[in-house]
Symmetry: D2
Subunit: 417 residues, 4 copies
């Protein structure tokens, strides 16, 4: 992808500082974890913390240092197999569901690996770098920010399956809201609107956000805030999980197979939810989170509304500031009375994840980053309370399978006008 | 759905004749089967022939006779459970994967059931019927035509898993083609185009084809004919099934888990394929069939092209006559040198199956017919050699999971211009 | 095996008559079935009726006709693959769990196959046969008698999974007993006792009954009749299925995984049970049946007793006449007030199925008949109401996995003295 | 069980010293492990090291301190759920296959838990204890010794599934043998022999070794040493794994499902095997190990011999000194040229694990220790190079499922005379 050449150079005018800041953030996030926490994989979707720390490092080693750093020698040749996630183009890889079986390298060795790569990166960053390499470094940092969020959602799941429900951090304090912000509908006129990013944009973006393209939208309305826990409780109390007519067929099958009756981390009595701060009383005025697409879709149908299509969401969000409740705020759970379109929870859209018209993946193995996942998944938008504050934008597309619940996923209602 | 009221009345000006013709076609299709053939379910996607015969009959009983026929008494009260497919709104149902465990009612009893319902329907059809009931009768007939095709594809799968590979019929004769029709690209201008059906259309259509709506298309090109077995063999010989960069991630996983190396019914040496006429030499100039979306998508990528989006396909097909190789022709396998846009094989599109903007499902339990499947599936277009000739149209949308291969599914290439 | 030479000759003094009688019995048993009934496999343990009919015929074709009949040509070469059960020594075979996927050959063809083999056997039986061939014919007839029982238990399971619960036969009438026979303990002195059959016995026996050998038994007591449905109901009502201390560890796991709370064919309210005569009121004074070893063992522990070891059972049964309620009696379910040690239900023993000291399997592929199953299974003794009357003896050993329940399996209590 | 009262008192004349010695041995064994190693469960049979350390401690807490120590308060109430293995009688327990999902308590906390319980035990051991409590303490120590071995075999499996194959210890040195000890047959006369332990034995034994009882054995011969790796290689090279007639039916199914072609830890080229010292060249003169019962049985059949029945083994071993290659020797893999009947590898017998005549399990929840496993498993005898030297005796019975391979399991041949 040719995008971002000039401005990547610009934002990297202190490239070492930025590199150090992102890498240090990762280590800051895990400061409260024990070595034992960093090993376990609680389900195939989850990766161990240790794996995340090593994988993002392997990314720099493979896609930057091996290309651009003269005489660079890998820290350990075996890590290419262990810490490649899914890039068939650069070699074989360890099976994803078995990541939690790996006790060595230890956490200490992985941290040494990070230091080794950081040293080489610092040396490299002091040299005159091509635009292509600068782009790859930025891609590596954006990649690490994505894994910062995954690392947190994954460790939340790991801790949640422990019957003693340990908190990741005891110092995350959030006061429940006494009142809810009313929900209003914002009316938007349809027409031919442009979404997506031009491949030559000076700002960083992923290939799946390109190219910018026109779409024809009908008039629509969209809610001013996400659906709250309290509203979701009404759905439950109204028989939401036992009324098949509210559900997609695959969703209904999943509800019954998985015995779902509430969001992932809610207690059976719907009083508390498991958070990175341990079991906490549910804040009824905060956005509902940790629900699947199926649940979001069923809720919307129950509410007489629908999920927004991703172009609708982006069309409105393009005019909103990228502010909100992010991982940097050290809250790490959704908060109420927040009018931001970013942070708090990702929002499920009605759009299946596919290529924009004229989409071209990045060249070479980096083309596997996004493009090959364009099937069976649904687009989510807006980031969450576990996303890095400087990582998001209106065009940003993330995506999950419709049955996925372990991410911080919520919804915002839309409807036809 | 309010569509089709006037013209349904018109086309039903000989409603009994039409009813009898469709119902008799079903019985004609299975004439060569033995009772034993009609019991077995070879995988969860497949239903036994006996089940199909009973289910389409139950559809009339439940959605027409129970509503409109005074004093109608069901043939057997237990059939409501056994032969409901997926309509939660009308009651509980037998588990789909267990349909093949039901030996009673026998085929003879099911045929008696058909006769019993036909008698009641004939009586009903002689009365003055409301538009709503006329629509439901037409829906029941269209539904039966869909099951005629499923019945054939299902029995093909049942017979295919028998090591002695019995033919369903020995009298299906088709001569392989000596030469292939050359493939050409047809250039189409983009712009705002209209697809789909108006809900008030006087012709029958399914709710998922509505409403008619505008879409913005880019300029594109589309092939004049589907991909042939010979072209698909080239893909195989070029390492198509062993080159991960050609595949979507989920597709690559499926290829390896299922050990796919050729279309579903091809012999290991890629010389023969299993058909309803038994094992037959592959006609290299006929369209490739019985492939998944993943394979169609990988082939297109290998060919430097892509699959058409469903609006592109419909935009072109709207100008084509609905002629071709259909089930009525008693060939029951794709043939070469056929320029039709209909029949032969369904064609995978790049479009995930979802609601058109403003989509409203039918009221009541019949709303479960199409709408609840709008997730995880891909749209296919054009019908196949196993479709009824009078069942198709340019707006017709069918849909299957991307891993499905047991239907007569092929592809036509498209590309950006 | 050299056993049975003289007396086999003797009992075969009317060998054609015996052959015809056994073969005709098989056909008599299935007279009430429809073709559809004969196709289905309701679980991997179950084989379709059609398969049983063909397999026992293949046994004669393979182990008798192919050896001894000059110029014999198989009915259909493909049947060697389809109808070999587990004899690796004579070639590859169709996968057991897929037997229910085979619609062709039809039942009519299988019956023609039986006639074809019967014709060849009749011709052969009119010639002067070696002892070895005479033994194989007798083995084939005993084998067919075993499959007569399996055929009945298998079709019972097939019909049971149909929600409409069809009866195999409507004419099986049995009056429930008004009173139970009291249970008494019979005291038996221990010591060195001999069990098993001498390999040179003039009577037919299976290799797994040989050789006769001495065993040292302690004094013990054994019940005069099997446990009844009424006694088993007491176990249920006393919390039998919810008290882990009564169960073997693997049994407790199975109870919970399979959600067992009563014998296999009992209705949820423990009022009725599914029989070959359809749903019938439970006869509380008849023996309990269709229970696993785990349930038999737990019942015995609950009752303060234990299961008999197989040598104990045989030591007592050796003095009992081989009379009782057998398949020939056309009752086909256990009856009460029956003092026989044979028929009614098989009785689980405490003995795992293994080789007697000095055991030698039959030579060649027939050695696979019994020997290779001597692991993971438990011995059952005495036959059932679905066994042929002339098929049993005190030394007869059958065997099933401890979790198996679809055979007519019950228990008799024993205890130390 | 009333066994062992006097002599337990005697051997506990320095009871604190013995307690400390066993407990310290456990910690010595794991000294080379990292915290990360101690968390992972590589398959359901395996437990994490951390779990073993806590479970054996919970055993003292539950069965000794809670009974006998006044005012004892558990270290953490939640551990009763987390670290109960399978004692339904003392409460609910965490699911076995999920033991590897527990990151907290950390290893450090578990070590603190051990210290806490040790402190309470030291206090208790200084008081005047009843025979019953003395027996329970001894049982707890024997139990801990069993888990010492399991801990080693489990961590071996955990490390083996890591592609980088880390050694547990680098300092385990063993020189391969240049020559093999010849195999000889030792002839033993049959007759009535006594095996097992009297329940009132003054020495410690498990309940499953009781009661002593007479058995009638035939004359037999038994090998002077176990089968070697070299002999097992001959079996492989002779097609052992591809010859169905050598295998039990369930064994043959397992071989094909699991794709077995050599012992568990052998490299594909049969040159090296994974040990606690990492990948090491196979010593062809050392005993074969890490094989299932199915493999042992097939090897014996190939060799024209059989496995010994457990009474045969015990009858001979009763005259042998309990010496050999044990965990205390810090070799931790089988060695050649060793005539001992103990240590090196456990030896599969032909005997299914069941109760001896008159067997009575321990009273109360401790009765779950051995008795409820008496089904589906096979007896192994003699201990291994990972057993504690003072833990074994001729009457000792251990048991594993016939498909189990992750223990240090080998075989010794026997035959009829």
């Amino acid at each position: 992808m040719t995008c971002a050449t000039e401005s990547v150079a610009e934002r990297l005018d202190a490239p070492i500082a930025r590199y150090q800041r992102v890498r240090a953030t990762t280590m800051r996030l895990i400061a409260s974890l024990e070595a034992e926490d960093c090993v376990v994989q609680s389900m195939p979707d989850v990766s161990p913390t240790k794996w995340h720390l090593a994988h993002v490092t392997w990314f720099f080693e493979t896609f930057v240092l091996a290309e651009a750093a003269a005489h660079y020698r890998p820290f350990d040749d075996r890590f290419a197999f262990l810490f490649n996630s899914y890039y068939n183009g650069v070699g074989a890889m360890h099976a994803r569901p078995e990541r939690g079986l790996i006790t060595r390298p230890t956490l200490a060795t992985v941290i040494a690996y990070r230091q080794y790569v950081d040293d080489a990166m610092h040396t490299l960053l002091e040299t005159d770098l091509s635009d292509a390499i600068q782009f790859r470094i930025e891609l590596g940092l954006q990649h690490e920010q994505q894994h910062q969020e995954l690392l947190l959602t994954d460790i939340q799941h790991v801790l949640s399956v422990n019957p003693i429900r340990p908190a990741m951090r005891d110092d995350l304090v959030v006061a429940p809201n006494a009142t809810a912000m009313p929900m209003d509908w914002q009316s938007i006129d349809g027409g031919i609107i442009s979404t997506g990013m031009h491949p030559d944009t000076p700002d960083f973006c992923y290939d799946n956000e390109t190219p910018a393209h026109d779409t024809l939208l009908n008039d629509f309305a969209i809610a001013n805030r996400p659906v709250t826990n309290g509203e979701y409780r009404d759905f439950i109390n109204d028989g939401g999980y036992t009324t098949p007519s509210l559900w997609l067929s695959d969703g209904w099958a999943t509800v019954n197979e998985q015995h779902w009756g509430s969001p992932l981390y809610w207690s059976d009595d719907c009083d508390q939810q498991f958070t990175l701060a341990g079991m906490r009383d549910i804040d009824w005025h905060a956005p509902v989170a940790y629900i699947s697409f199926y649940e979001a879709d069923a809720f919307a149908r129950w509410a007489g509304a629908r999920l927004p299509i991703e172009h609708e969401w982006e069309h409105v969000a393009a005019n909103q500031p990228v502010t909100g409740n992010f991982a940097d705020d050290d809250v790490w759970q959704p908060v109420g009375n927040d009018t931001s379109w970013f942070g708090n929870t990702w929002e499920w859209t009605a759009s299946s994840y596919g290529p924009y018209p004229g989409f071209k993946p990045l060249d070479g193995s980096l083309g596997e980053y996004n493009g090959k996942f364009m099937c069976n998944q649904m687009v989510v938008r807006g980031g969450s309370c576990l996303s890095a504050a400087d990582h998001l934008r209106a065009t940003y597309r993330s995506f999950f399978y419709p049955q996925s619940r372990w991410q911080c996923l919520g919804l915002r209602l839309a409807k036809d006008r």
